[in-house]
């Protein structure tokens, strides 16, 4: 598999089809992976792909506009690319997508590899990218197999009384240091100036305290409704261990229930908050 990825990337770079190929290389701990930008065919040999390749590389595409780039995309990453195409942040013809069939990636942090699948991979039913120019790996036979999903964290929280839910999030958001790592790593966060960085209007407030952190985290979650593809990079990047993915997954599931919409599946499907049905019972 990796030889095929390297050969394809080298081809693309050698032929000048792309100026840069975005993939993964082994990190300096020798165990985990990190994003890698290959600019020549020779560099393509450094590419790797395995369960440690957790990053959503679509994050880098908006910054590469105007250049032809190649990118390695897992199924979840491919949905991000679709979101970015739909929102005009990526031109489809500027990107060569090498899709890769995925069996899930591991819970892993620098220096601490693991063989345990990320929770989101347990809920994910997509094993083939939804958009690609070239596919690496054998697509699994239809219907695509689904990992067994146990009772989700979302449901567990939903079953608790409101007071406990409030307390749960209060305790988490109180610890937020507003480092913005969640935003910086998010492929859907590309605003030139984030609402929380604006001083006029001052939506979030400057102080790092519960009320301000609450507005920040709630506001950000809302801005991801119908757009988050559950790559869980925010949660992985959060130094305070705030379970942001639960929030995003809750909204994604409601958007699917209410509007039958899943982010990034179809770049032509109307965005659920830019369309409506005259008769709909959603309140």
């Amino acid at each position: 598999m990796i030889e095929e990825i390297r050969a394809k990337a080298a081809d693309l770079l050698r032929s000048g089809e792309v100026k840069c190929f975005i993939g993964y290389e082994r990190a300096s701990d020798g165990l985990t992976a990190r994003p890698f930008f290959a600019y020549s065919a020779d560099e393509a040999d450094r590419l790797i792909f395995d369960g440690t390749c957790v990053h959503n590389l679509a994050r880098y595409l908006p910054d590469m506009r105007g250049k032809r780039v190649g990118i390695l995309a897992k199924p979840c990453d491919s949905r991000s690319i679709n979101v970015l195409i739909r929102e005009g942040q990526v031109e489809r013809e500027e990107v060569y997508i090498v899709g890769v069939v995925c069996d899930g990636v591991y819970r892993t942090t620098w220096g601490k590899p693991s063989r345990e699948l990320q929770p989101r991979c347990l809920y994910c039913s997509k094993r083939t990218p939804v958009v690609y120019d070239y596919l690496v790996g054998q697509p699994p036979p239809a219907p695509e197999s689904q990992h067994p999903a146990s009772i989700s964290e979302v449901e567990a929280l939903e079953r608790k009384p409101a007071a406990e839910r409030w307390e749960f999030w209060r305790s988490h958001f109180a610890r937020c240091i507003r480092c913005n790592a969640c935003r910086q790593i998010c492929p859907a966060c590309y605003c030139p100036q984030c609402f929380s960085d604006q001083l006029d209007p001052l939506w979030t407030g400057i102080r790092i305290g519960l009320p301000q952190n609450w507005v920040w985290n709630v506001g950000r979650a809302l801005h991801l409704a119908g757009r988050c593809i559950d790559c869980e990079e925010c949660q992985r990047a959060c130094p305070m261990g705030i379970p942001l993915a639960i929030l995003n997954r809750k909204l994604a599931s409601r958007v699917k229930e209410l509007f039958g919409f899943e982010a990034g599946m179809d770049p032509r499907a109307p965005f659920p908050f830019a369309t409506f049905e005259k008769e709909e019972e959603i309140l």
Binding site: L157, E158, A162, A163, E164, R165, W166, E167, F168, W169, R170, F195, W203, P211, W214, V215, V218, G219, A221, L222, A225, G226, L247, K250, L251, R254, V255, L258, F259, P272, F273, A274, F276, K278, E279, E280, I282, L283
Partner: protein, 133 residues
């Protein structure tokens, strides 16, 4: 401080609901004085961040009210509002803000009585829920 009066922020569209609230006044209908009304051109103007801010600033309940579906002065604003606010309410509920604290109602310019009734019911409900944590 459980006997504190609930504080309600109401975002009312100029063309239907604000006029409906005016009619409640013209008709001298009495409702609890807990609501503070913010006039917006259309329920579609209500940025969910405003609702989030209202709760952050200590509102016990927030009401967004616009023209009935199909009657929007701008033809579509309330349809967009309905979707945005539906998802916002689910999010707030998930965060531990009870569903009953965020009301979305369609009130026409002719429904002064209904507006008064909605505010009365809302305040009653909020009293049952008690002040927000």
């Amino acid at each position: 401080m459980s006997d504190r009066e609930p504080r309600v922020v109401g975002f009312l569209c100029n063309w239907c609901s604000y006029a409906g609230a005016d009619l409640a006044g013209t008709s001298r209908m009495q409702y609890p004085p807990n609501i503070r009304i913010i006039r917006v051109p259309c329920s579609g103007r209500v940025d969910p961040l405003l609702v989030i801010k209202a709760f952050e600033r200590g509102a016990d309940g927030v009401l967004v009210s616009g023209c009935h579906p199909g009657d929007c002065h701008y033809t579509q604003g309330n349809y967009y509002a309905r979707r945005r606010l539906a998802i916002l309410r689910d999010l707030l509920e998930f965060l531990g803000i009870e569903r009953d604290r965020f009301r979305i109602e369609w009130v026409s310019a002719a429904e002064g009585q209904r507006f008064a009734q909605i505010v009365a019911d809302f305040v009653k409900k909020l009293k049952e829920l008690g002040p927000r944590r």
